[in-house]
């Protein structure tokens, strides 16, 4: 989910200009595939990873497809305009990749019943609109295990953006993962009220490091925290994409979004005429989330343990939210052995027991 708050003043003009012109000689049988991104491909995070999905489509189908992408599309009226333009240009399938594109996508889809739409991270569907997202919390649990093992101060810092279920779920998953291997672990959580403000993210990471955190998680978009961890000689977990360039020593591991397999499968379905409106929430098992570049300085037994947890989550043998689990106030929300339903996860608005501090409402 991306509630982008920072104003993209230029975006209106840019979006219009950025429609990548279709190559001249278009063969009739080429299928057109469109992507709408909220950020620049160069964000090395969210939109960058979506663009890797586009590249996967190109690789998989070669000459049979023609891809178009539009970057920096602000959530709102511009998104609708850009999406409609793509539909008018004869794209057979259009991927709109930000939460705020949900309503524009639904609106345009009504006007183009023959075009297939794929909206990432939303919850509204239609006959020609499917939704897809990743179970990021699975990666956070695995990385929590690594962080719990690697922390020496038993203090893990967490830079959070906004108190929405997706972020809260991530904090809980990371905490449960860390707690499962280290009963003394403590989480310090700092809410920065932004998805993207490198300066403030760096300040937050600094504050956490000053207060003794030696592993830092983040649920914001820039690599500022990773870079700071590198400077301070502490550790951090990469978010959304591999941030190794910013923390060659600091990055313990990164949870990397992998949209390729899903996107390729959906394009194939349109080609074969088997496309249906579906709701996909895939995780490690579906290959949509990878734990990448686990650092070699992590002891072998820890790496092995994390790999085992990862494999168990992938195979469905283990679920990060398995009871007995209590809310922060001590009330049980999952009985022993019970697994959290997708509905519960989708609306998670509480900390699990053991996390200190109050969750902003």
């Amino acid at each position: 989910m991306r509630y982008r708050t920072f104003a993209k003043l230029t975006a209106a003009a840019l979006a219009a200009a950025a429609i990548v012109a279709a190559p001249a000689a278009v063969q009739a049988e080429k299928m057109k595939v469109g992507f709408v991104y909220v950020g620049p491909i160069g964000d090395h995070g969210w939109s960058y990873q979506h663009h890797q999905g586009l590249l996967a489509v190109k690789k998989a189908f070669g000459d049979k497809v023609e891809t178009t992408h539009v970057e920096n599309v602000p959530e709102g009226p511009d998104a609708e305009r850009v999406t409609r333009q793509l539909a008018q240009q004869g794209h057979s399938i259009i991927f709109t990749t930000s939460f705020g594109f949900m309503n524009p996508t639904i609106k345009v889809a009504k006007q183009f019943p023959k075009v297939k739409f794929e909206h990432c991270s939303g919850f509204k569907r239609a006959k020609n609109v499917a939704t897809y997202n990743i179970r990021y919390y699975e990666g956070r649990y695995v990385n929590g295990v690594i962080a719990g093992k690697m922390t020496k101060s038993n203090t893990i810092g967490y830079i959070a953006s906004f108190p929405i279920p997706e972020v809260v779920r991530g904090i809980n998953a990371a905490y449960l993962g860390a707690k499962s291997v280290n009963p003394n672990v403590k989480f310090k959580i700092v809410w920065v009220s932004t998805w993207f403000d490198p300066g403030k993210e760096a300040d937050a990471a600094k504050a956490l490091a000053d207060q003794g955190a030696d592993v830092i998680f983040q649920h914001t978009d820039s690599p500022a925290a990773m870079k700071l961890a590198e400077q301070r000689g502490i550790s951090a977990i990469g978010q959304a994409s591999n941030m190794k360039a910013f923390g060659p020593k600091a990055q313990l591991a990164a949870a990397v979004n992998n949209w390729g397999p899903y996107v390729v499968a959906r394009v194939k379905a349109v080609m074969d005429g088997t496309w249906k409106s579906t709701d996909t929430w895939g995780g490690i098992g579906a290959g949509m989330l990878n734990i990448a570049s686990v650092h070699e300085r992590i002891p072998a037994d820890v790496r092995k343990q994390a790999a085992k947890v990862q494999a168990d989550i992938a195979s469905g043998k283990f679920h990060p939210f398995t009871g007995p689990l209590n809310k922060q106030d001590g009330k049980q929300f999952l009985k022993a052995g019970e697994r959290a339903s997708d509905g519960l996860l989708a609306g998670m608005n509480f900390y699990v027991q053991g996390i200190e501090g109050s969750l902003p409402k």
């Binding site: 230029t10 160069g42 090395h44 809410w191 932004t194 993207f196 504050a207 500022a224 360039a245 501090g357």
Partner: protein, 306 residues
């Protein structure tokens, strides 16, 4: 105690980009020009400083590039508003949008790269003093430059002929013109200075604070710098104070969350802005004083009578 020093260090780093941008804009406004393009000049300075630092591996070259890039942006503003007499508010807003777009274009090949650590002052013995050593004698060079700049600007306006001329132009450009001062020339000079300072403020963010390039990374700091100038009632010393107050509250609220202070995070995030508004209200409660402080010719175009 160690933690207190670390918090103070954090405040200095958070405040320094604001100090640069605000002191530059203050000088511009003193000459009677309002340049709302601070955000745009900052972000162009950020990418200029970062890209040149990466290319040359030389921090000084990066700093110079940021100064030049910011000044060039301001020159564009100057040509439009001083020579072609375009509306300053509209041109300033356009400059911000232009700067954000230009920086994004320029920065395409630089996202995903990281710079090293900016050199810091290192005086044997002094910098190694416990507690105060790092704070007083161990900052990066730009921090000292920002403070020198504030002192210099303050001195310039109080004690020099040039400062007096610029103030006169800001208060009454017709009178200044009548006694023979080249109004537009001086305004170009202040604009170039303001642009260079804004560019340096942006570069501080991309070369020292984070240090990497990301699109839109100034995240509204240019607008805060503009507010700080009013906050400071156009006095350099107060602009410095305002920047440190703003940076201080930002850092303290992050720390208080880490300590688990039981206040909702949103309120804490609002604090720096609330504090700025509160001070603005207090300052502007005395109308006469505001009128006395604000340059009388602010935003007014100057057309030389022939």
């Amino acid at each position: 105690m160690e933690l207190v020093v670390n918090i103070l260090l954090g405040i200095v780093i958070a405040a320094t980009p604001l100090v640069f941008a605000a002191i530059g804009e203050l000088v511009v406004e003193k000459s009677g020009v309002l340049n709302l393009g601070v955000e745009g000049m900052m972000i162009v300075g950020a990418i200029a400083g970062f890209s040149v630092t990466i290319q040359t591996g030389n921090y000084l070259a990066g700093v110079v590039a940021a100064l030049v890039a910011g000044a060039l942006m301001a020159l564009l503003f100057g040509v439009l508003t001083q020579t072609l007499l375009a509306n300053q508010v509209a041109t300033g807003l356009a400059l911000t949008m232009f700067g954000l777009g230009l920086a994004a274009l320029w920065g395409q090949d630089y996202s995903g790269k990281a710079a090293g650590n900016f050199p810091k002052l290192d005086i044997p013995v002094l910098s190694d003093l416990p507690l105060v050593g790092k704070l007083l004698f161990g900052q990066d060079y730009l921090v000292y430059l920002s403070i020198l700049l504030v002192v210099g600007v303050s001195w310039f306006f109080r004690k020099t002929r040039g400062g007096l001329i610029i103030r006169a132009i800001g208060e009454n450009h017709d009178a200044a013109h009548a006694i023979g001062y080249p109004v537009v020339f001086y305004r170009y000079l202040t604009l170039l200075f303001g642009g260079a300072c804004a560019g340096l403020g942006g570069a501080y963010l991309s070369v020292v604070q984070t240090p990497f390039w990301a699109e839109g990374m100034t995240a509204g700091r240019g607008w805060i710098a503009l507010a700080l100038v009013v906050f400071a009632a156009w006095r350099p010393g107060r602009a410095l104070l305002g920047a440190y107050l703003f940076g201080g509250i930002t850092i303290l609220q992050l720390h208080s969350q880490g300590f688990g202070v039981k206040v909702e995070a949103q309120y804490l995030s609002m604090l720096p802005y609330l504090a700025t508004i509160a001070v603005l209200v207090i300052i502007s409660s005395d109308r006469l004083k505001v009128k006395l402080n604000a340059p009388a010719c602010l935003t007014q175009p100057f057309r030389a009578a022939t």
